[in-house]
Symmetry: C2
Subunit: 387 residues, 2 copies
């Protein structure tokens, strides 16, 4: 186990009606609030009205229309609003895109240059506004970590940045907010959670037992509850467990002490950058193809561990590769049964940009340091297997 | 799943040599340090010298001799030192006893009355000095939570208190510090970790799936690595996983959303209060007897879950009670094989105080709100089964 720092200081307020605590939490930071959100869903599900009803003593400035893959232009707009109105605290209401956007706004407020600089070079993030989040999608884990991913469409770039200053101070997680999600968002969000866990589980270090047991527990949670949430959207237990899994999957619990680069995320960022697709859908398509591509004598034992502990395959089967392939097939079928389109063709993506995307993934993704090191040709092969 | 707040803000610095970061962390809080520790072990293993070598720019006042069940008199002495020397930050070096003692010192420094008041009534804790810990025992989880347990021998009282102000700011966890532990401390510490998990796992709420999977993972960690650490004291992987498990078992991860009182801890506190025994040993003795006592049609399914997921008993066995009893027997044998004395007789404890202890456990422990509600007679029966 390698040395690490674990620091997940966000105060998590979990459960029905926790929004009642919002005014108390906001006032710790001031009176002027930038409310950041995406489309109109928070108006339809009542959160928007609840915020205004609860926060009458605050001055609220709005930034709406944050995109599913949030754009740098929106970040810059938000930072300008913060400067102009002397904002004290940012309230991000939505999923990972909204929260990621709020994070870079929080940093860009104290930066005089182009906000994109903070995405390209995180050392330029030196100060940030405090952030409170209200989560409406179980997926990215952004509600409890330092990461943000921002897109720049004119150059087909989608890059991650991070700062301890970006960690939300408080996150409100009310599972009932997930009841009205479109089914594909429940499914794609679950694929995103699972991918975070996979990226940490499949690493070179094999001694972080606690972390791997947590990983297996989170994967089992997703596998158990996503189909229930799809069938019964108002099932509180299913929504609660998926929501908590999203925060736990990417707050350091599964990745601490396990160095190395991520693979599917690096490749998916290029798919999203080129085609603006849903992140979780891209990850679901890539994951089983990546798994099959890297399966070898070096990795088969880890896939067996995955198959036995997560899918409860029979330990009596003696052929390791058979267990590994069964586990990978089950992963693919699971995503399919959750209603996720499992080929790039279904997203109208063809071979055209595969070389460019593979090249960009290698440039941005440090894939030479992944669980199994990949070069450009490897990435092209994985993408072709996804067509 | 019930509503909850999860807040574990301690910065955890994990791994070999992390003590190098101590001066940087200390200076965030000031220059005057109260160094709190127990017996001479930190002098034998080099930590004491390392602190003085690294912290030459600080003014260090010492409070040594913290007892294994820390006494209120020691707390009061520490608080007096803090007031007298205008201490900025407390550095607690040791296991849970030392850290617990430091926590109540931190609060008592800002309290004018008797420090025992803060143990009896936690609402009196209104301000506290910041605490940094260096952990030398994997057991209580005090390094990452708000809890403290303090003893008062003249009245045979051992009580828990808690405050968010007590949560350590930084904890340094270097697994190599566990290499020189006496075997019984490794074993008793592991029993303590497992008991924290059991107390949260066996609760009325059965919908907190993520929390229960984390619990099962931590139990498997203890079962896998404690025997290795006993056989090979310098096995880094074993020490590292046990150390991390101690912090994860009682920082909210396994208990969030699962209300209700704890049982074995409430009873063990009375054993320790009357006989000053090692906490983890008392817990190991009580746990299997308590499990057998509460096994019934209402609880058998949870014990089956425990047996299948933690001990990997065969799911083909159809007799639920057979699985449950096997799981409980395995728990008892595990502690025995780790070298823990598994009867009260071996600790020279007889029937004499059983009624008094049972009465006190009922008074302090809210055992009517436990997983299975217990009355005084129940507690007496469990204690008798431990003789």
């Amino acid at each position: 186990m390698e040395n690490y720092q674990f620091h997940a200081p966000t105060k998590m307020l979990f459960g029905k009606g926790q929004i009642q605590q919002l005014p108390n939490e906001l006032k710790e930071f001031g009176k002027k609030v930038l409310l950041v959100y995406g489309g109109g869903s928070i108006k339809r599900n009542g959160i928007y009205d609840a915020i205004y009803q609860l926060c009458q003593e605050f001055e609220i400035i709005e930034l709406s229309g944050v995109e599913p893959n949030p754009r740098i232009e929106t970040v810059q707009k938000g930072a300008n609003l913060c400067k102009e109105h002397h904002i004290d605290v940012i309230l991000a209401v939505g999923g990972g895109s909204t929260i990621d956007c709020a994070k870079v706004i929080a940093g860009a407020t104290f930066y005089d240059g182009d906000a994109w600089d903070l995405v390209v070079d995180k050392t330029k993030i030196t100060k940030a506004l405090p952030i409170i989040t209200i989560l409406t999608l179980a997926a990215t884990g952004s509600e409890m970590n330092k990461n943000a991913v921002i897109s720049r469409l004119d150059t087909n770039e989608k890059l991650g940045t991070a700062s301890p200053l970006f960690i939300p101070k408080v996150s409100i997680l009310d599972p009932t907010y997930l009841y009205t999600l479109p089914a594909i968002q429940t499914a794609a969000g679950t694929a995103d959670i699972m991918s975070h866990v996979f990226e940490n589980y499949f690493k070179k270090d094999q001694t972080a037992f606690v972390q791997d047991k947590f990983a297996e527990g989170l994967l089992q949670t997703c596998i158990h509850y996503c189909p229930i949430a799809l069938k019964e959207p108002n099932n509180y237990e299913a929504r609660a467990n998926l929501m908590w899994a999203s925060s736990m999957a990417l707050n350091g619990l599964t990745g601490s002490g396990k160095a190395g680069a991520w693979t599917c995320h690096a490749i998916e960022h290029e798919l999203s950058a080129y085609y603006d697709i849903t992140h979780g859908v891209g990850l679901a398509i890539l994951t089983p193809r990546w798994m099959r591509y890297i399966l070898s004598d070096q990795t088969v034992d880890k896939f067996v561990e995955y198959g036995l502990n997560v899918w409860h395959l029979s330990p009596h089967e003696k052929d390791k590769y058979k267990i590994a392939h069964m586990a990978i097939d089950k992963t693919e079928n699971f995503f399919k049964e959750c209603g996720i389109p499992m080929t790039l063709k279904e997203l109208n993506i063809d071979e055209k940009h595969i070389t460019d995307m593979a090249k960009a993934a290698i440039t941005h993704g440090q894939l030479d340091q992944a669980y199994v090191a990949l070069n450009q040709e490897d990435v092209e092969n994985i993408l072709k297997a996804c067509l």
